[in-house]
Amino acid sequence: MRSARANLLSGIREVRQSRKENELAVAASNLAGLRALVIEDESIVAMFLQDTLAEIGCEVIGIASRFDDAVEKVKSLAFDIAILDVNLNGRNTFPIADSLTERGVAFVVATGYGATDLPQSLQRVPILQKPFRQRDLERALRAALI
């Protein structure tokens, strides 16, 4: 009895340990040097993202504020991660999300909507709820990179 309990406890400890290690690894993973594409139609928010990403150490290689522009930049630019607003001037960006998924590029979805309004295909993508703090952005970026 006692040994079963001890086994269980040590098992739990192990799981906790590995989870913690995992988190630590993620936290330590360097976001610096990542090339980021910002897809956001509010220019003021885009600027804020640009500055915040720069502070984290990322390089913003492009900003797209219009749907067609975003489609074009996703295709033509080389980047490691994208921050994708779900709505560009009233048009949802799910097709852009799909093409990012297809290309295997990590991305974060920025939205003022609740996560429940997103389609099934985006349920596993990290959500950056607007408005956000720098650490929310960092956490979302890390989650996207796992």
Partner: protein, 500 residues
């Protein structure tokens, strides 16, 4: 026979047929009176004698008197009047419906029964003479025994009540049928096997099948395949005499379209109270569903806008503070930017977020800087351009930054400088929009070594929001800002396009 058009209660063929039968069995004539004691039906004659009354225009008056007694309920038992003068006995019964006296039936009885007299045809032909002679004979007969009259009165009562009830039931039925017929709801009855037995015009309109097509078909005719299981449950509940109210479901129309309905299903019983089927009332709730959906969309949109506005305000605050030399300066700049954003929202709200005139946007942007002295220091000119909301917000913010800069370092920092704001439309494909902010008369301009958030808001933000170019030129004589963008990117779209 002088049958008058009485009110609905006494006018039916049912009465006539029943009274003829009753009369022929008892050699009477019968008249019906309404609650106002007006003769409304009859007389229905069975003996030729009473026919002679009519033909000679002889009106004994005791029918009306008897009806009065019945209607006024002077006597509890059937009212009987025996007139030796007329050689006539009458018996009346009051007719009541739902506890209310609605009229009276009065039967007349001659002392002499001439119905069997062989020469009656001849007598009738000579009516005018024969009538008096006939009458004399009648008066000499012994009166009809009271007992017999009472029995007739009671018979009359039973007959009248039964007929009225029947008549009333029919009217109720007709009224109900009229309601069913004219209803906008689909009202369908089915038997316990689920076979359609009736189909109103509401059902024809909503579901598309005519009554001829639907009656006799199984109820699954208009139930979508994935809802057939529900139907089994409904039938079981109906068998248990349960009513199913306001159950929201979907029904299939003839053309395959699915219709949102609110369904009420009630058991139908026969005269013995046995459950024989179900009535199904389906109400079209497409419109309600559409409104619910619309409301949900609006809530989502509102939430989205609020969250995005918060993100914008957050970005403004963070970047203002980041660039501010002192906390006080940062606070003032942030406040001014927030107020500019808020005023631009006001303009758009007044226009239902459809757009605003550039003239108005420009006037609002410089209004804060047009004090008494400086009123004439702005020259604003350009053609009418309706801007879309995004352009309104972007230009309001940019003009605010330019004006603030002019106040601090440029043409508005001394007493002599001026600002010209001009815009024009350049023909071509695409048609272009150009705006120029030009300062003059201010202190000599130095190109700043470091660009602040204001410059960035104009050069990067405006360019991005207008999908064009925005350039700041620090010319020696005064700052110049030029904006160049395709007109379609900033112009409010036509209503037809907007709703497409």
């Amino acid at each position: 026979m002088t049958k008058r058009a009485g009110d609905g209660l006494f006018g039916s063929d049912l009465w006539e047929a029943a009274l003829e039968k009753y009369g022929s069995a008892t050699h009477l004539t019968v008249r019906l009176f309404d609650a106002d004691e007006r003769a409304v039906f009859g007389p229905v004659h069975s003996t030729p004698l009473f026919q002679l009354f009519d033909e000679t225009g002889y009106e004994p008056g005791i029918f009306a008197e008897c009806a009065h007694r019945c209607i006024a309920q002077i006597e509890k038992r059937p009212a009987i009047i025996v007139s030796q003068f007329h050689g006539l006995a009458v018996v009346g019964a009051s007719l009541a419906l739902e506890g209310r006296v609605v009229g009276a039936a009065v039967g007349g009885y001659a002392f002499a029964d001439f119905s069997q007299v062989s020469e009656i045809q001849r007598l009738a032909r000579q009516a005018n003479i024969a009538f008096e002679r006939l009458w004399e004979i009648a008066r000499k007969q012994p009166p009809v025994p009271q007992r017999r009259l009472r029995v007739h009165g009671e018979l009359l009562q039973v007959l009248g009540d039964a007929l009225l009830r029947e008549h009333y039931r029919m009217r109720q039925y007709e009224r109900a049928a009229a309601i069913v017929h004219s209803s906008d709801d689909a009202i369908v009855s089915t038997d316990l096997e689920g076979v359609i037995r009736s189909w109103n015009s509401g059902a024809e309109r909503l579901l598309g099948y005519t009554a001829r097509e639907a009656v006799g078909e199984p109820v699954t005719l208009f139930i979508p395949a994935d809802r057939i299981d529900d139907e089994q449950g409904i039938v079981e509940r109906i068998r248990r005499d349960e009513k199913i109210e306001h159950y929201e479901t979907v029904r299939r129309c003839k053309d395959g379209r699915l219709l949102d309905v609110s369904l009420t299903v009630s058991p139908l019983t026969d005269a013995q109270g046995r459950i024989v089927g179900a009535s199904r009332i389906a109400r079209d709730i497409t419109e309600r569903k559409r409104q619910e959906h619309h409301r949900e969309l609006l809530m989502n949109e509102l939430n989205h806008r609020v969250k995005n506005t918060l993100a914008t305000v957050q970005s403004l605050a963070m970047q203002t503070l980041r660039h501010a030399a002192t906390l006080a300066e940062g606070r003032d700049s942030f406040e001014a930017r927030l107020m500019t954003l808020s005023k631009a929202h006001d303009v758009l709200t007044r226009e239902h977020w459809e757009g605003a005139d550039l003239n108005k946007v420009a006037a609002d942007a410089v209004a804060a800087y047009c004090g008494d002295v400086q009123e004439s220091r702005f020259r604003v000119a350009g053609p009418i351009v309706r801007l879309q909301p995004k352009a309104v917000l972007a230009l309001s913010m940019a003009l605010h930054e330019l004006a603030t800069n002019a106040m601090k370092y440029g043409a508005l920092s001394n007493t002599t400088g001026n600002v010209e704001i001009n815009w024009r439309l350049i023909p071509g494909d695409p048609q272009r929009f150009q705006l120029r902010w030009a300062e003059s008369g201010g202190p000599p301009v130095e190109t700043p070594d470091r660009r602040g958030f204001g410059s960035r808001l104009v050069e990067q933000g405006l360019a991005q929001d207008l999908a064009g170019e925005a350039r700041l030129t620090f010319a020696r004589g005064g700052l110049v800002c030029t904006i160049d963008t395709p007109l379609d990117e900033i112009r409010q779209s036509e209503p037809a396009e907007r709703h497409s």
